[in-house]
Subunit: 340 residues, 2 copies
């Protein structure tokens, strides 16, 4: 006999916050395809040396024991990598967990949160879950950041938080040199720089940490480090700010195998950096080839993906023909924008 | 040169919600010890067959690719295990992530949340992060649940949420037969039953799911399944409620290796169940031995740990002598209670 649920969930749903019920869940349904480009992942699996090191380490770990509360050695290596303080490094189950924790400790009922738009749709969804008010600031028609408008929006709404993805998903746009410093100088907000794609290009805000406590920089091993499947990310912030964000992060959030994988990826940093350079060269080649195709426009990208505008044919048609005729799965950003 | 942080973080800290700043972070600092009992873990490492299966699977996985958005096969196996609907199963990075998500979609500024006290301190911390108001309902002096008082507190405060850990950490008390049905009948709240330790004893609320949409049951593989180090838990709920909770859960929250480990643990369910029976037999032996020791009182437990009250000597002294003279690390629940 198949189980069935209670006939009505109305009374239960009435207990869910209305702002949550109004949201569409983050989702991604996509057909399998031999050339999978739709999630901005690395095209390379983790190097064999990384997999071997992780499997060797995993075998010897006590799986019945919680991971260390603070993985000190890893935190110190990440700190050294960015010349920052170990007490200002937080590790997470992907950098998404640290976006979530940062929003959780700053956003309550009605809190304005400024982000460029379009951008990674998770920011908007989480702001809504915490009862905040998303203040989107449109990119220019050429998908460049409008720094003046961001400053104005943050000042006008007195937003305690501005979240910028640089390079930006899905446009590939880097936040320009000096723009983070401007946000810090001209607004009173906590500036969260999500640098998930920064290994592929564009400036980094990390050096500003030394002089600015109102800055949180998020990094991930899901892109250039080929570890999207193992989930590892981290935040860099002033130690006092990191200690507050940590309160909304779950204890034992990064499992033992992923901790080993992060170590192994750091050990293989040179090899991974060479692959990152190869991705950048491919991107440049792709941009040149795309720019020679009539009927579409490719926008310059600092990330590991390229946004195109379909002029001659509808985007949905291009999307479907690419996957059906060529086995190339891309992301339909026109569709994503509806959610963003 | 050692990096240094900006001289003052005051302006940044002013942007953190005051209710968050008032909280003490969840933490656990403990000395290493050969007999580690302080985290209620399984004393057995994951079976070799589990480790072997996971390592075999891990090697073949594309680590550069995000895990599946919904791991359908695993969700269906978990549903079958509990005779529940696959659409009413949510997987998480430990069951803590699903506690967090459930609170996030129900708790806003001032929302009352009823829990017994003392209990797992994470509930109180997360309620505070989301701006809610924790309503603790004391256990009886013998550490039994006071179901009348829970019902009264939920009704008096019109709390949309009651969270009960059964068996309860740190007391080992099972929520009595019929008590969940009473909470459902006599309050209008969503009842969250955290059954992390239920494999070791006490009733389960799972059969009530069929008739009650206001019920969420949380389960974990961190205890009886020996996988605390890999982080896996899940929630069972009405599909409509599960869909709302999913909005606060991060996409790709369970990594590829942990998904493989959950499958392997389900494959080894018989072996793990035999180990669970062995833990129960050890608990009964321990309780008998403890009850023969003058100067302390052992409380009956349905979990994989036993709470004792130190009568003759201070608890802190017993804690320190156990670890220093015998290498036995326990949890000082008197200290935890300060945080709870």
């Amino acid at each position: 006999m198949k189980p069935t649920a209670a006939p009505s969930a109305d009374a239960a749903l009435a207990l869910i916050k209305p702002e949550v019920r109004a949201q569409i869940a983050y989702t991604l349904e996509a057909p399998p395809a031999p050339r999978k480009l739709n999630q901005n992942e690395s095209p390379f699996d983790a190097p064999e040396v990384v997999k071997e090191a992780v499997i060797r380490a995993a075998w010897g770990e006590p799986w019945n024991r919680y991971p260390p509360f603070t993985p000190r050695e890893l935190v110190e290596r990440l700190a050294a990598r960015h010349r920052w303080l170990a007490s200002g490094v937080l590790v997470g189950n992907g950098s998404n967990e640290l976006i979530q924790a940062t929003l959780a400790v700053t956003v309550g009922a009605g809190t304005p949160v400024v982000t460029p738009a379009p951008t990674f749709s998770l920011y908007r969804l989480l702001v809504a879950v915490y009862g905040g008010r998303h203040v989107p600031v449109s990119l220019t028609p050429d998908f460049q950041f409008d720094v003046d408008a961001l400053v104005r929006a943050a000042r006008d709404t007195r937003a305690p938080l501005v979240v910028v993805n640089s390079p930006n998903n899905p446009t590939g746009t880097p936040f320009p040199d000096g723009a983070v410093a401007r946000l810090l100088a001209e607004t009173g907000a906590l500036i969260v720089m999500d640098e998930a794609y920064q290994d592929f290009g564009g400036p980094t805000a990390v050096p500003l940490l030394t002089d600015h406590a109102r800055l949180v920089v998020l990094r991930t091993f899901s892109k250039a480090m080929s570890l999207a499947g193992l989930r590892f990310g981290y935040a860099l912030a002033h130690p006092a700010v990191a200690a507050e964000i940590a309160k909304a992060r779950l204890p034992y959030n990064v499992n033992r195998v992923t901790l080993a994988a992060a170590h192994a990826a750091l050990d293989a940093a040179d090899l991974l950096a060479e692959r990152t350079r190869a991705v950048r060269r491919s991107r440049e080649l792709l941009e040149r080839r795309l720019s020679g195709i009539p009927g579409l426009r490719a926008f310059p990208s600092a990330a590991n993906f390229v946004l195109i505008r379909c002029v001659a044919r509808p985007a949905a048609e291009v999307f479907h023909r690419l996957v059906e005729e060529y086995g190339i799965l891309v992301r339909d950003a026109a569709l994503s924008a509806l959610l963003a």
